[in-house]
Symmetry: C2
Subunit: 564 residues, 2 copies
């Protein structure tokens, strides 16, 4: 391809807009990607070529496991989402609308419901297992924050895959195969991946793993143990919490004006956060609950949902707190007043003489002790672990890593098949519900991950076979001979060459080569022609060498045959 | 692929639901396609394989013309549509919504606006031409009628392509190349296509062609002249209208109770439709107009829009007619009362002594003559031609054909580049706006067209190279030897074979083979093995022949090498 013909050949010298993500900048600057609005991106021809190669890597791995490609619409009936109740759980992120007949639809933020519905048309018998289907399909999520660039794109393409099994043990046997296929995909893409157990979140199910790329600007925190290798998403990571025990004292009410938050209270009373017992009202799909945690920890919605066995939507609003006759910021840890379930983090018993709300605005109570002054039967681990807590397996200090999430896999069991009504007839005539797994890779995120893992301060360094073109060809000088030789080479080398035929200086072309990140540069100059040679340069290593013109084609072939 | 493993291997013996389209039935019955809601369809693995092959045919043709693949989001800012005004013109079909920041978006029914916007990021100079980009991308149109099956899918994938040119003559030179590429695509897909000049519709522009498949249930009418070959969409076709001249008589009011439609009036007065002058109020983007046509013709919105140079939205509602102080069904052809432009079809002067409205409910006026009793400066051809009108080129009788529209191409000139602000700097420093073409093929419609053109009463007959698999392999009988040989052949023949390994009768397998429509069936039986052979059967011709087992592989290869 001649570079003058490329739609998007206007590279940018400077980073566009503000973002923390170098990959997002480089992809835009190189003309791989352009923005079409907040959270909306268009893949340009060069970017599309990379995406095609990524898709082929994914296809190969999934089809090795029997994967079959399907294509579902992005718009699906809202009714399907009502069946699983997820219309309520992710209502904020989901766009829904009515057509002119008044039918209601959603712009799919996920395809689990519709894929389960589709499976109803073709899974009926115990003979119809296993099934493993996948697609590359747009999703739309109305992200809360507008500024995540490609990482938080509102519309994004996901490779989503779904497996259907006759039994839970069949799912258990299949699940690790997809786990391994994902590791293969990321390795082929040149991305060093951390896999960690993770929250099931709004997908629900009983086991999930994330595939993460370590990244300074990543907002996905992983807790890991450098000693024993334990790794889990901060949402669900477990650890040994610090204890602050004392002899219990007698409770005493104290005036605490304008101390509705733990930070204000800590400052006003001059006490550390771990001496505060924070009681808050949460909303779940089944109603309100009261939640108590120690001031030095934050509640994990994920852990809380798991402990109570019900999806937690989030903190109640101030209005909701008041409507339940509670004092915002001053709630006492008891359910006598409201009858709502009282859920207590197990760290609460590890700190005596806590300061808690008094149920009166402007007053707290000191020296309150769990088991003496309040109690609950629902006690468990419902908070996010700190990096300086200890590993429960080996007692080493835990560490935090910033990462971006590129893929995830979920064992979702039979929740969706039961909710949507996907059943099958067993050999003995009984009706059963299939067990499902769901698996997803964000293509835009994987693209970012690849660039995060493969760049320097001059630009991208595409792994071979992922580059839009593997060779960047250019001539130096205006001699007729150079031009002729370059044109001949361009013709010989075929479709894997980007020929920089622009009327630009050598400096500009060298800079753009580095920015674009193609693996090899081939330069023909009057000087190199004196020896009948072309100069090769490898972007990744900086290695330069001369190749006789008649061997250029062969050299290119053998460079691509080398393993990465 | 083993048929037992296919997601969607449950063929249907009967046509699902009601539709006039045999192709829609066959695709569903064969498990190529399934419905997920009104106007929403999912491509199953076998259908997806066909679509992939169609995409490759399209890609090849477009890339031959320098086409480069891009990928735009389906959700784009509403603001872009406001710039072209198309948000109003196709408001009924377009879904728009706001995100939680309050930004407004549309679910793209077309990508012309956003593609023009994207071009702004990379076309800046006269050097940046031509550019030809394409994508395969979902569109969403809230169709008025819910019952068109795949043909009127709400969400559908289109191959949409866009060309950008420095001058109008460059566009004119490029446009026929795409026309030819489209003909090539349809030929490679085995579809006999009619190309006809067509309305520019809501796309606007000055020249458009449709690519149509003749089809008994098609609602896209083409007027053609069997003598001289003239062909055009009924919306814009021209022809010589019939004349009904008499000596003018004097006007006279007559009571016509409950005659608000031309049919009632014709019946009540016992006069033919061509004796009625129908005056109706239409809405355009620039306001109301009054439109007069003869009772035996229907107004073509497209022709009307072109004549007045303003986009006509449609008939005014009864409320709007009354709000303008006009009598619904009884409007007199004059603009004295309203001041709205009066547009008259040229057939009106070809029929004397018309019956027209009196501007009073319940009364018409007889013997009204254009030029004597009413007049207007805006006279032209604004109606749909009848099949028994005459060809303007050769005076032969015109014919009507029912077709389905599969693709279309538009010269849209500089309307979009000016509206969206896509400009470039000429060599002399002046600012110009590119001329654009836009080109589209509906993939679902093409799939239907292929099946319409390639089926019999037993099922589909895929053209070679488009079939999901070219070979259907099966054994007859339970002998160990047959099973072994079939398994061996399956292994030899590779990925282009569908092996029917189900525990079904021969009859069921033969029926499904015919329904699925794979080009060749290979049967191994105890009998055929006696001679060391397998039996080949060609779906298209019904030809049967035996092939020695050791030559089966070679035979398959050579069958695919034969030209279609």
């Amino acid at each position: 391809m001649r570079y003058t013909n490329i739609f998007g050949n206007n590279t940018l010298r400077h980073n566009p807009g503000s973002s923390k993500s170098i990959s997002f900048f480089l992809l835009q600057r190189g003309g791989y990607l352009r923005s079409l609005g907040s959270g909306l991106f268009a893949m340009m021809p060069m970017g599309n070529r990379v995406i095609d190669k990524i898709k082929n890597i994914i296809k190969d791995e999934l089809e090795n496991l029997g994967g079959q490609e399907v294509d579902l619409p992005i718009v699906v009936p809202l009714n399907l989402w009502k069946k699983t109740g997820r219309d309520k759980i992710i209502a904020d992120e989901m766009i829904s609308f009515s057509d002119r007949q008044g039918h209601e639809y959603v712009l799919s933020p996920s395809h689990i419901e519709s894929m389960t519905q589709l499976a109803r048309t073709s899974i009926n018998s115990y003979r119809d297992f296993p099934r493993f289907v996948y697609q590359f399909k747009e999703k739309f999520r109305d992200e809360e924050k507008d500024k995540g660039g490609l990482y938080r794109a509102k519309e994004f393409t996901m490779n989503d895959a779904y497996s259907f099994h006759r039994s839970y043990s069949d799912l258990n046997n299949f699940f690790p195969k997809v786990f391994q296929a994902y590791l293969n995909i990321f390795e082929k893409c040149g991305v060093d991946i951390i896999s960690a157990q993770s929250a099931v979140g709004t997908v629900s199910g009983d086991r999930a793993y994330e595939f993460l790329k370590e990244c300074s600007w990543g907002d996905n925190i992983v807790i890991s143990c450098p000693e024993c290798g334990y790794k889990a998403s901060a949402d669900i990571a477990v650890g040994v919490k610090k204890q602050y025990t004392e002899n219990p004292r007698l409770p005493k009410e104290v005036a605490t004006p304008d101390c509705g938050t733990r930070d204000k209270l800590s400052k006003f009373l001059n006490i550390p956060l771990e001496k505060i017992g924070v009681t808050e009202l949460y909303k779940t799909v089944d109603g309100f609950i009261l939640v108590v945690c120690r001031g030095d920890y934050d509640v994990s919605i994920e852990k809380l949902s798991r402990l109570i066995g019900s999806a937690v939507i989030g903190l109640a609003t101030k209005d909701e707190v008041e409507a339940n006759d509670l004092a915002p910021g001053y709630i006492f840890p008891s359910n006598e007043k409201t009858g709502f379930p009282l859920v207590v983090d197990d760290s609460i018993s590890g700190s005596d003489n806590l300061v808690v709300g008094s149920d009166r605005l402007g007053y707290h109570i000191k020296n309150v002790n769990f088991g003496i002054d309040f109690e609950s039967k629902i006690v468990g681990d419902i908070v996010r672990i700190h990096s300086d807590d200890k590993c429960i397996y080996c007692r080493s200090s835990l560490e935090e890593k910033n990462t971006i999430e590129i893929g995830n896999i979920f064992k979702i069991g039979d929740f969706y098949s039961k909710a949507i009504g996907l059943s099958f007839t067993e050999e003995n005539g009984e009706i059963s519900y299939p067990y499902m797994g769901t698996y997803g890779i964000g293509l835009g995120r994987l693209l970012m991950g690849i660039v995060e893992a493969n760049h320097d301060d001059k630009g991208i360094i595409w792994p071979k076979h992922l580059a839009p073109y593997n060779f960047f060809l250019m001539g130096i000088g205006k001699s007729f001979r150079v031009k002729n030789v370059v044109e001949e080479l361009f013709e010989q080398l075929g479709s894997d060459v980007l020929f920089d035929d622009r009327h630009e200086s050598i400096g500009v072309k060298f800079k753009d080569f580095e920015l674009l990140g193609l693996p090899y540069r081939i330069v023909v100059s009057a000087k190199s022609l004196q020896e009948g040679k072309a100069e090769f340069y490898e972007r990744k290593t900086g290695k330069t060498w001369d190749v006789p013109l008649e061997l250029v084609n062969k050299t290119c072939t053998s460079l691509l045959e080398d393993s990465e």
